[in-house]
């Protein structure tokens, strides 16, 4: 019965999604069929809507890069959050700040090797002095950094997490 309720909930949630997102989903499944990774690259104007959704879901957005050791260390915890909390309405978005010249040589092989399940997008915008304070006024610019938000409720973290710490923060948004 409980499972049935969750399915109904998920269905109703997915109905709420805009047609634009539905199109994006179709694109993703195409990419899966090709078994190649179709990475979307955004500048800040493109990224902004992805980190400001108002869909009643809890969004965990992690800024990372393959060259950032503490980011790589905490990545499995974000994957675990996705695995454990996706059904409860939590979405994980991994925003890669890898350099564009390393998309093919570093980032894609990494995503394949680690079999990352969370959505990965590339963020390439050199005007950092504009978008760092826009993402959060307290962000000095160090990686890793994470946003957790649900509609208007929002928290920014310029720090690393272990799983327990991350789970605790996510749970605060599920209350």
């Amino acid at each position: 019965m409980k499972r049935f309720l969750i399915i109904v909930l998920l269905l109703s949630l997915s109905c709420k999604e805009t047609s634009k997102e539905a199109v994006a989903e179709v694109k993703n499944s195409e990419a899966e069929v090709k078994s190649d990774i179709d990475l979307k690259i955004y500048d800040y104007d493109g990224l902004e809507p992805l980190i400001n959704k108002t869909d009643d879901k809890v969004h965990v957005v992690n800024f990372w890069a393959t060259w950032c050791a503490p980011c790589i260390k905490e990545l499995p915890y974000f994957e675990k959050v996705k695995a454990e909390y996706e059904k409860k309405g939590v979405e994980v978005l991994l925003v890669s700040l890898d350099f564009p010249r390393q998309y093919e040589t570093k980032l894609k092989p990494f995503i394949k090797e680690k079999q990352l399940q969370s959505e990965v997008v590339c963020f390439d915008d050199v005007d950092q002095n504009r978008w760092i304070p826009a993402i959060d006024s307290t962000w000095s610019g160090a990686l890793p950094a994470t946003i957790i938000y649900k509609n208007d409720k929002r928290q920014f973290y310029e720090r690393s997490f272990n799983y327990k710490e991350l789970e605790k923060e996510v749970q605060q948004f599920l209350k």
């Binding site: 890069a65 060259w67 950032c68 050791a69 503490p70 700040l97 350099f99 564009p100 050199v126 005007d127 950092q128 002095n129 760092i132 304070p133 962000w139 000095s140 610019g141 160090a142 990686l143 890793p144 310029e158 690393s160």
Partner: protein, 203 residues
């Protein structure tokens, strides 16, 4: 007159203590930056006070292992070449814990400095005592200081320029503009900027 002077000193003291309270997370513009005595890649200790004729300093927290820091190496050398003779030498400080990042140990620092032709001191923040006082959080992280009778005053905090990827595509050279303004005795237009960098590594 004497009471006035006492009052002035008192006000100074109160405002100073107020500053230390509000800037717990590091320096803000106008704060007096601490001097230090840190080991250079040549084995000698370096302090800001050693630079008798300097007008100020371009202090850059940087390292070998961060791709952003590496992307800026040549530009840091250029900064020193351009401004050391004008009284603003670059002082580079490596703030990472070298157990966490062995690629930033003294031997590696020496090798990197030699390979890239560093013209400036490249100091080890041994014990990681200095970077927290400045409030540096990442590499590269720039602090431009102006020498005054009260000490070295923080005049600029932030990035070197607005394009980490491509030096040729830079539109605004924040650090150069700041030093140019200081040299011209003008107000710095952008006193604080932000850029992505690698978090400073601690145990």
């Amino acid at each position: 007159m004497k009471t006035l002077r006492v009052l002035a000193v008192l006000i100074c003291f109160v405002s100073l203590t107020a500053f230390t309270i509000t800037t717990d997370g590091g320096y803000d513009i106008g704060d007096v930056a601490t001097d230090f005595s840190l080991e250079n890649i040549d084995g000698k200790k370096v302090s800001l006070a050693d630079y008798k004729t300097a007008k100020g300093f371009i202090v850059i927290f940087t390292c070998n292992t961060c791709p952003y820091a590496v992307a800026y190496e040549d530009r840091i050398v250029e900064l020193d070449k351009k401004y050391a003779s004008k009284g603003y030498p670059v002082i580079a400080i490596m703030p990472n814990d070298t157990d966490v990042k062995p690629g930033d140990n003294m031997q590696a620092m020496k090798a990197r400095a030699k390979a890239k032709g560093f013209t400036f001191p490249y100091l080890m923040d041994d014990g990681q005592k200095i970077y927290p006082q400045y409030g540096a959080t990442k590499t590269p992280h720039v602090y431009i200081l102006e020498k005054s009778t009260e000490g070295n005053i923080v005049k600029y905090i932030g990035a070197i320029d607005d394009n980490y990827k491509d030096a040729a595509a830079v539109k605004t050279k924040y650090a150069e503009n700041a030093v140019d303004a200081l040299l011209a005795g003008k107000e710095i237009e952008q006193k604080k900027t932000r850029a992505i960098g690698c978090s400073i590594k601690t145990k």
